[in-house]
Symmetry: C2
Subunit: 315 residues, 2 copies
């Protein structure tokens, strides 16, 4: 038995939820057999994480396990879908029992918390790379898309964008950073409850992985509208301002990636319902601008804008 | 715009089928939105191909594109599912336009032929690695599994197992090989029509990726039965016997991998229907043994058996 057969057995025995809603047959056959309620749509998303590109080589196995699932769950959150099933394609240079145990622990904890079941996988030898594919469901026609924003609506964002970029910067420079900044980068929380709560309230949504401005730009492009942000309305985490000063804090809020917050649009008539939802979830949701006729994004009062953001190491 | 943004645009513009049955929203949002008929089960499988592990570095980009989809479609074939949607997670060391064009051409040709639509993807930079996930459908409860074989049934295999291993050996040794052996290795044909045709006829099925004996062993294990193969009944391709002599041809038929034929069990009462199906598909289907009480696999008359098979380069 080769070492990769051993790894397959390790995963088969790991404490990652396997039974779940609609799982007729999970791991162990040529394919999983899954059953979706007849009145629901299936949502599918896939993301690959490569060491040194999507996370620092120094990141712990547990944090990598969490991250691999979190960034995919965040895509389901942005669609307003509830998580059902995921598959894991793991490429490893060698079989390191400690690494595998840590990776599984991080993955399993988030899987349990999110109610998502592992239904398939593949383990191969090669440079470290992790591809997770997630499946979720939403009532037919109710999924949130990027193309539904209309002029006259409000633009919102959840949480405190920029914190993750501050955490990453500290890790890269080996400097101190507030605990919430490190946590934002190392253990992003997919906003699943917010996503499902926004069904029927939001007109368009996206998760903020590449930076608030860049991702708002995707809504603008797909919806055929202009998004006008207001610098004074941006939620600046106190820790961000304290570490960087207001101008740079704002730049990181607009341009920093990896936060996995949700950016969404909604008719003004839904503002109070959104605020109630935010209070119920104990999650900040801030109105940061408006949807206008036109194209692209702008931010009044922000000075020079950094238009894009490159993920860790990407270039 | 980075080179990987260019690659994403290349794939967005490539001629890979995107519209298909049940595609509500394809590539371009946080997730695809898909709709499955209410009376069908969803089948999901994922496989990663790593250069130098799952295919020789010298394989052409077009053949790699074909193979990445073919090995996954073969899993759907083994479940008796009809293909619907796939996602592609592609990790590349650099953006090579010729390579990408070849890869897309091989992938697209098989996608069109199989009626499967590309609904999502991710492109990252790193050592060459391809993860494809396929989705298929089968009427509720009708999918073929590995665990349904019962004592007293027949054991069957499609095609001419061993040909692909002969083709691989020739490639590795730089020696000549019959065209059908090279084709078997370089361009495996997923047995989709056979798989759907076997619904209601076969009691268990698996695709032969690791070798006939090894994969029959998976049916034996999951079904809790013994599979008794008969050496004299094995389908030995004439090209295989001519190249190797009978004893070694038999060893390759039993132990060689990468054929992506189907190995399946069925009640004797279904033998004539299976033969009719095989004639209709112009695909050899051979009864190679019986299902008995017990465990494991055996092959009377084959001499020493090579119990396992390691994929190209795996060790």
């Amino acid at each position: 038995m080769g070492e990769f057969e051993l790894i397959r057995r390790f995963f088969a025995g790991a404490d990652i939820a396997r039974d779940g809603e609609g799982v007729v047959l999970g791991i162990g056959d040529d394919a999983a057999i899954l059953r979706l309620p007849a009145d629901e749509d299936l949502l599918v998303s896939v993301d690959t994480l490569v060491a040194g590109v999507h996370f620092p080589h120094a990141m712990s196995a547990r944090d990598i396990g969490h991250r691999a699932l979190a960034v995919n769950l965040s895509d389901l959150a942005a669609m307003g879908a509830r998580p059902l099933w995921f598959t894991l394609a793991l490429t490893l240079p060698s079989a390191d029992a400690d690494w595998l145990a840590g990776f599984c622990a991080g993955l399993a904890a988030l899987a349990r918390e999110s109610g998502i079941a592992l239904v398939g996988g593949d383990t191969t030898r090669g440079p470290l790379s992790i591809t997770v594919q997630v499946h979720g469901a939403a009532p037919r026609g109710a999924a949130l898309r990027r193309d539904g924003a209309r002029a006259g609506e409000d633009l919102w964002v959840s949480g405190w964008p920029g914190l993750a970029a501050l955490g990453l910067r500290a890790m890269q420079q080996g400097s101190a950073a507030p605990a919430e900044a490190l946590a934002a980068f190392l253990a992003p929380r997919p906003r699943l409850a917010l996503g499902t709560g926004l069904r029927g309230l939001a007109s368009a949504a996206i998760d903020v992985s590449d930076g608030l401005l860049a991702d708002a730009g995707h809504i603008a492009e797909r919806s055929g509208v202009h998004l006008a942000l207001e610098a004074a309305a941006l939620p600046l985490a106190p820790a961000l301002g304290a570490a960087l000063g207001e101008a740079e804090a704002r730049a990181l809020c607009l341009g920093g990636g990896d936060d996995y917050e949700l950016c969404f649009t909604a008719p003004p008539a839904h503002a109070e319902s959104i605020r109630r939802l935010a209070r119920r979830l104990a999650l900040a949701c801030t109105r940061i601008g408006r949807v206008e006729a036109g194209s692209g994004v702008s931010c009044a009062g922000a000075g020079m804008l950094r238009a894009g953001y490159q993920h860790f190491g990407e270039g």
